[in-house]
Amino acid sequence: MSPEHPRTDRSVSTRIGARDISKNYGLVQANHGVSFNVTPGQIHAVVGENGAGKSTLMRILQGLERPDSGTVILNDEPVQLRDPQQAIRLGIGMVHQEFMLAPELTLLENLVLGDEPMRTIAGPIAIVDWKKALTEARALEKRAGVAIDWNRPTATAPVHIQQYVEILRLLRRGNDVLILDEPTAVLAPQQVSKLIALLKQLRDQGASIIFISHKLHEVVALADHVTIMRRGKAVASASVDELDIAAMTRHIMGDAPADPSEQARAAVVLPDARRILRVEGLCAVTVDRSQALNNISMDVCLGEIVGIAGVAGNGQEELMECLAGLRSMSSGSISLNGAELAGKENMDFRRAGIGYVSPDRAHEGLARLASIADNVMAGSQHAPAFLKGPFRNLPAVGRAARQRLANLDVRYGALSDPVSSLSGGNQQKLVFARETASKPQVLIVSQPTRGVDLNGIAAIHAILRQHCEGGGCVVLASEELDELIALCDRILVLSEGRMVGAVRNEDATPETIGKLMLASGDGLEMAHV
């Protein structure tokens, strides 16, 4: 609204873009020579798997991170973004997945927060002009084509309304570059089409929109242009007319590596495999209550690795937590060797022989401020072998800790060092060392190689195989399709909280699984490939 905000200038060829941007986090190369261009009045989709580097790129465009090399381009000129405030002033606005709205304030209050229209009462005394604010809000509302009850407390407003308010707030403050991070993840189908209509309208008014998504049919429906990222690189960038969904899928997934030793695994047949873990009709509520685990049934046999695939946020994490006993289920059954576990506590799951490797290593898998020894021995504090009378037998605990760490070849300095002194790979191996120590039959393993270097990945894959060869079984959720294909006997695919397909190892390719993953929730028939 204020004059300092740049107005849309149709004459420039690049409203916002990147030239050759690279960014490393330690060993992880998040962005590698990424370039892309968004013209004024364009909807530009950025797609790719989780960890492909999309979020890093967006963080750079918002001034939250600085690139190691390369530049951000704004109106054909290179700029250095120092902080998000500067990006906002330059007209770059972000719609976060978690909305930046204060839940206890009304929608109108959130709309004007930080740039309130004021009304002078007397001399220097001024108060917020709510009348003017409401007029502005109504004008914006009309532009969006939705009815909004502005005086409603934000927490009670439906999610899609909150999203509109977030977008309208950016428009009100003159932001004509909008970055939307998976905006449809929280929306119901009919709301999605409304959002698409709004974004198209904004584009026609000159806004440049960057749209991050996993859902290719939405990309086709909405975007003018698409840039595809894989492993930190922009691997393709083209008009949407030139790329169909199949081509996009190919670019997203890349080619599966043909590692002979890993292929050999496919030949392992399980003749009289015994089903030990049975899940029937499992239903559960997810954190944000928008999606639920819906009627999941699966069996896991001894010696088997069963993969769980799906686009992030489709219920994999919730399913794994249910299997580990960390999330209560609303109905259904989980049984191990015939013993029912539904309704029991996480301790009972562990006692029955289920180990758990959390996807959130920093906050759940490890106690970062505790020592290496404490981390690897946690959970075993009541085992008779480690007690002497009422006390912990510390020499025995130390010996066992060393043994456990040695078994999985964890490299560490001293047992008393904080666990955060270990590298990512060694931290993860330590988690495995703890979780496999009591020889559980079933390992529930979620995102085991996230943030782990190549050597670590190989070691963790070996651990998983060993566990199965030693008579256990594994349920493995991973966002790395290559990993699932290399390791799993079967891969089950989740979409929107439902089991939408099962693929056997010999049929598993990134395409077959990708197709199931990216399928919208329409065809809910179980697809057996």
């Binding site: 986090y25 330690g26 580990a324 960390l326 506590e345 996480n346 301790m347 562990r350 006692r351 758990y356 959390s358 959130d360 906050h363 759940e364 898998g365 490890l366 106690a367 970062r368 401020l369 505790a370 404490d374 946690a378 959970g379 504090q381 009541h382 007690l387 009422p390 006390f391 912990r392 510390l394 060393r402 043994q403 760490l405 040695a406 070849d409 490299r411 560490y412 300095g413 001293a414 047992l415 008393s416 060092d417 955060s420 703890r434």
Partner: protein
């Protein structure tokens, strides 16, 4: 094979890590105290006193003779209990600021039993009084423990408020049913002489409660370092999600530490009532719960630190009283130092942890 490598590498690194941690702990103990004494020094300069002289006088008043040292230990005694009771909870990530109330009710229960039980039961009167004190105080802190564990009621507010409730209840009782018929207002009768804890170095008031306090600190050291429950409590304090994922019950850990905290605070109240004042009267706790909190913060919950911290504050209290008598420096300087220590103990903590977190990717 790698076992062998690791054990070789361990002593050197382990020692270095231990030294580092020891230094770290010492620094965090010394820095807030240093700042507090500096603030005190400014105050002393402002009124024209020489701070060095005053501090060295205090030092000699607190430690220079057996009698003075005994007075210091005597003043440190209640702090040993309240600091342990606080540290148990802080270590578990439970923000219990209600130790003072539990201490008061424990003292009241012990004094009541010390007065009411028949003399004829002999020395049994002491364990019975102590037992009653511990039970009452444990029940008192069990309440906010359950509220936190089951209903997620903020323990800071509930324990803070319960302190005032405890004061009110005690005040009501010593002005009512427990009021002494002989010795005036706001106090119970003096306890039977058989209920008194023995004096260790008469004429000093240092009593065997001090030994109980040391035993408590020792038990706390054992509990925290070598029992499964203490281990679990620490993991809960470090990371609740992690603790839950490895199979530790968060609610029962919270309730257990609150009850243990109450037991210790009650024992402290009993020690103070039976050993020091021999009755219960209004003003029974001179803020011992809060000074104990300062001690626990300063010690960063370590047993050794608690002993040092308690003696430090004991020395301040006993030397403060005497220098007020002889050199006209108000005893209130002790409060100034205590308050400053509390503030800077947490300021340090906040900053340091933030830096640490920020550094590691």
């Amino acid at each position: 094979m790698s076992d062998h490598v690791n054990t070789d590498a361990m002593p050197a690194d382990g020692l270095a890590a231990m030294v580092r941690r020891g230094l770290d702990g010492t620094l965090r103990f010394v820095v807030p105290i240093g700042i507090a004494f500096a603030v005190g020094a400014v105050l002393l300069l402002a009124i024209g006193e020489n701070p060095l002289e005053t501090y060295s006088l205090m030092l000699s008043e607190a430690f220079s003779s057996q009698r003075r040292f005994a007075a210091t230990l005597s003043a440190a005694t209640p702090l040993l209990f309240t600091a342990v009771a606080t540290a148990i909870c802080f270590r578990t990530g439970v923000f219990n600021v209600g130790v003072d109330g539990a201490f008061i009710l424990g003292g009241l229960a012990a004094a009541t039993f010390g007065v009411m039980l028949p003399m004829s039961i002999g020395w049994w009167i002491i364990p019975l009084s102590i037992g009653a004190a511990m039970l009452v105080a444990a029940f008192w802190l069990w309440i906010p423990g359950v509220l936190l564990a089951r209903l997620d009621v903020d323990e800071v507010v509930s324990t803070l408020m319960l302190n005032f409730v405890a004061l009110g209840i005690a005040g009501f009782l010593v002005n009512g049913v427990l009021l002494s018929e002989t010795s005036g207002n706001n106090t119970t009768e003096t306890i039977h002489s058989t209920a008194e804890l023995s004096r260790l170095v008469p004429p000093s008031t240092l009593h065997s409660g001090f030994l109980l306090g040391l035993a408590c600190v020792f038990a706390y050291a054992l509990w925290s370092s070598v029992t499964p429950a203490g281990f679990e409590a620490r993991l809960v304090g470090l990371n609740k999600r992690f603790a839950r994922a490895v199979g530790i019950s968060i609610p029962s850990t919270i309730i257990v530490v609150m009850v243990i905290s109450g037991l210790v605070a009650g024992l402290g109240g009993a020690s103070h009532a039976l050993g020091q004042v021999h009755k219960f009267s209004d003003g029974f706790s001179a803020g011992y719960g809060f000074t104990g909190m300062a001690v626990a913060l300063l010690a960063r919950n370590s047993a050794l630190g608690i002993v040092f911290g308690a003696i430090l504050f004991g020395a301040l209290a006993s030397a403060g009283t005497t220098i007020q008598l002889f050199s006209d420096i108000p005893l209130d300087i002790v409060n100034v130092i205590e308050g400053t220590v509390m503030i800077f103990a947490v300021v340090e903590l906040g900053k340091l942890t933030l830096w640490r977190k920020g550094k590691r990717p």
